[in-house]
Amino acid sequence: MDKLQTVNVLRYDPAKDEEPYLETFKVPANDTTSVQDALAYIKDHLDKSLSYRWSCRMAICGSCGVMVNNVPKLACKTFLRDYPEGLTLEPLANFAIEKDLVVDKTPFLERLEAIKPYIIGNDRKPEEGPNLQTPAQMAKYKQFAGCINCGLCYAACPQFGLNPEFIGPAALTLARRYNLDSRDHGKAERMKLINGKDGAWGCTFVGYCSEVCPKHVDPAAAVNQSKVESSKDFLIAMLRPQEA
């Protein structure tokens, strides 16, 4: 049985509005209605001007992150049945609002690119066959490889909110993921960014990034392991000042 449920949505049209405002919609919902379904219903039946991002509907594309009652969530993986009192949807925190629930993810993408999230310095040729790893070598980075780049951790990170220069959880986690990969030789390049005050050192281990991560990647662990790594790098640079 569908019953009408209250869904508040933060609206902002850059062509018309000076600032965002909440609009209330009544959406028919049952136990299977996701937040994404609710948004689709609003757009199809109530207000076609509503803007939001979505794609896969199965928690793998990372497009549909929104704040649900102030908590960063994937719209496709969040269900109205868990919010019997109604819910308030806002664009991901700590990002600028483009329109309605769509944010400007440029700072996030810029960071992902900056830490070079790909294997560097491996001159292996295709003729040499696959680059085998032992299960132990893979286990080192596997958890940190689960990131879907949804940006929920940035919306969860007060340090990113307070310091927009901070490289932030997902990018630092991806840097850690490649630094731990036995096939990669790009650690020295990535450490330059990690060693800066806006690298791993911009983090104070609030830990909320790991709490909200829909893939249980545990960015807080990755970032803080990078502090240990950066400290080792610091000591080595002290001992060999000509290379610092």
């Binding site: 850059p14 908590v71 007060p158 609030v206 909320y208 803080n224 392991q225 502090k227 240990v228």
Partner: protein
Amino acid sequence: MQNRKPYVRPIARTWYAENNFFSWYMVRELTIVPLIIFTLNLAAGLFALVSGPSAFNAWVAFSSHPLMLIINVLALVGALYHAKTFFSMMPKVMPIKVGDKKVSDGTVVAVQWLLVLVVSAVVLALV
């Protein structure tokens, strides 16, 4: 692109009060307040030891003030809460491996609490 006008939401002064997770983070950070007062008072106690018995007695009298006692009880509770948070961060920051297997977070936390008990018991036994 002419219509682009990205809206930046300000960070509230009291951002840590708007979410329980952040509030507990702030409690963790605030455990240092009674710690600082306790430590500075303990340093004063050391100076009193250096200065002689009468200075020491004056320091004990000062430390016995109900306000100072309350702060010290808060310092103790704060130290235990800090320990809880610190111990749970430890296996994430420095994962320990035995052979190829990672030691579980729960084990690392339990070992650290055991260490607190043993160290505390030894200190109390020696007094």
